[in-house]
């Protein structure tokens, strides 16, 4: 039971109190906070060029600056769309657990988490709908887990990986003076809130994994490690969306996607995005 594990951990209880208080103190009205200009200039970077999928690749050499700007615009819309879809999934998972047996202790913080995530989803969707569109993600097959405790571990590990991936982008784009103020603002605000969610997620995932490790075979732990590694790759590859390349005027979007995924720059990009996350997951023993 998650609550029992947290209740035995004074450090975690202290962190939960502190994070909940900070959520109350930092509370803001997102519907009033942002200024939304009617349009944003098209011929500029919408995403830091170093964070675009063509950066450092031969494909980027073939494109003009105007094409790269257009690509960064569509990639930024894809990035915020991924936030919208990722948040919807995590809200479903956390809402299924709040105030249910076993989740009594973190439920207070879950209220802040759910409220804040809902607001993040609103401003990301608002950005997409005002300045482009929401890119779709195919629904399909649900993830399976062998036991409820492993399911909870995988749910919160997926949430943490998703938040850390997004935060890598937010923290850089919040400070990037090449980007429009509106873009910097949504990245800055999200980064501020996510630092609390990530702190909570790391504590929770560590506690959940300690219990799963105690009760699992080596084979089961290997399976968890393999799944988590695959989930990281899957999350990273959602940044490479063929529809984005198509909308940016690339003729053979599937071919470009394949070329980019196989380029040497991709491995380095993936490493830099997940540098801190991989270190944490290795330290806890979740990935081996």
């Amino acid at each position: 039971m998650v609550s029992t594990l947290i209740d035995q951990n004074d450090r975690f209880l202290g962190i939960l109190d502190r994070l909940s208080s900070k959520s109350v103190e930092d509370y803001y009205n997102p519907y009033k906070l942002f200024e939304w200009p009617d349009s944003l200039p098209e011929d500029m970077w919408w995403m830091s060029p170093e964070l675009t999928t063509t950066h450092g690749t031969a494909a980027a050499e073939r494109l003009t600056e105007k094409q790269l700007h257009a690509l960064s615009r569509h990639e930024s819309l894809n990035f915020y769309s991924l936030n919208v879809h990722g948040i919807r999934e995590l809200l479903i998972d956390v809402t299924r657990r709040i105030h249910t047996k076993g989740f009594e202790t973190p439920s207070e913080f879950f209220h802040h988490f759910i409220g804040e995530e809902n607001e993040h989803m609103w401003f990301f969707a608002e950005f997409c709908l005002r300045y482009g569109k929401i890119y779709r993600q195919p629904g399909g097959i649900s993830a399976e887990a062998p036991r409820p405790d492993v399911e909870s571990l995988l749910v919160f590990t997926r949430i943490l990986i998703f938040e850390e991936l997004v935060d890598h982008f937010n923290s850089k784009m919040a400070l990037d003076e090449r980007l429009d103020d509106t873009i910097r603002a949504i990245n800055r605000i999200h980064h501020q809130d996510e630092s609390r969610h990530i702190a909570f997620g790391r504590e929770l995932v560590s506690v959940l994994f300690a219990e799963v490790r105690r009760t699992s075979t080596e084979q089961e732990l290997d399976d968890i490690a393999a799944y988590v590694k695959r989930y990281m790759t899957y999350s990273f590859e959602t940044l490479y969306n063929p529809q984005v390349y198509r909308d940016a005027g690339i003729e053979k979007p599937q071919e470009l996607r394949r070329e980019l995924l196989e380029s040497p720059a991709r491995a380095e990009f993936e490493r830099s995005v997940f540098r801190k996350t991989a270190k944490y997951l290795e330290k806890t023993g979740i990935i081996r």
Binding site: R136, P138, G139, G140, S142, A143, E255
Partner: protein, 79 residues
């Protein structure tokens, strides 16, 4: 042309499962876990790449992806 396309999808699935050397048209890809929640999107892209058809994510019917023959019928039908 169409049969080449579905062969590309078969090759793509087998390339991700080196322990397998064949895949029958009616084997259920999801129940046999040849395709799971993390590889489903890649399957969709592989079908798009092989068929040239743009798949509308909003109207995806999972039944169309259960077997190779269902995929062939949904995305590689010549008529």
């Amino acid at each position: 042309m169409a049969s080449t396309g579905i062969e590309d999808v078969r090759t793509w699935i087998l390339s991700r499962h080196p322990e397998r050397d064949s895949l029958s048209p009616d084997e259920n890809l999801i129940e046999s876990r040849l395709v799971d929640s993390l590889s489903f999107v890649e399957l969709v892209y592989a079908i798009e790449g092989a068929s040239g058809v743009e798949i509308d994510f909003d109207t995806i019917d999972i039944q169309d992806f259960q077997t190779l023959s269902a995929i062939e019928k949904a995305f590689f039908a010549t008529v």
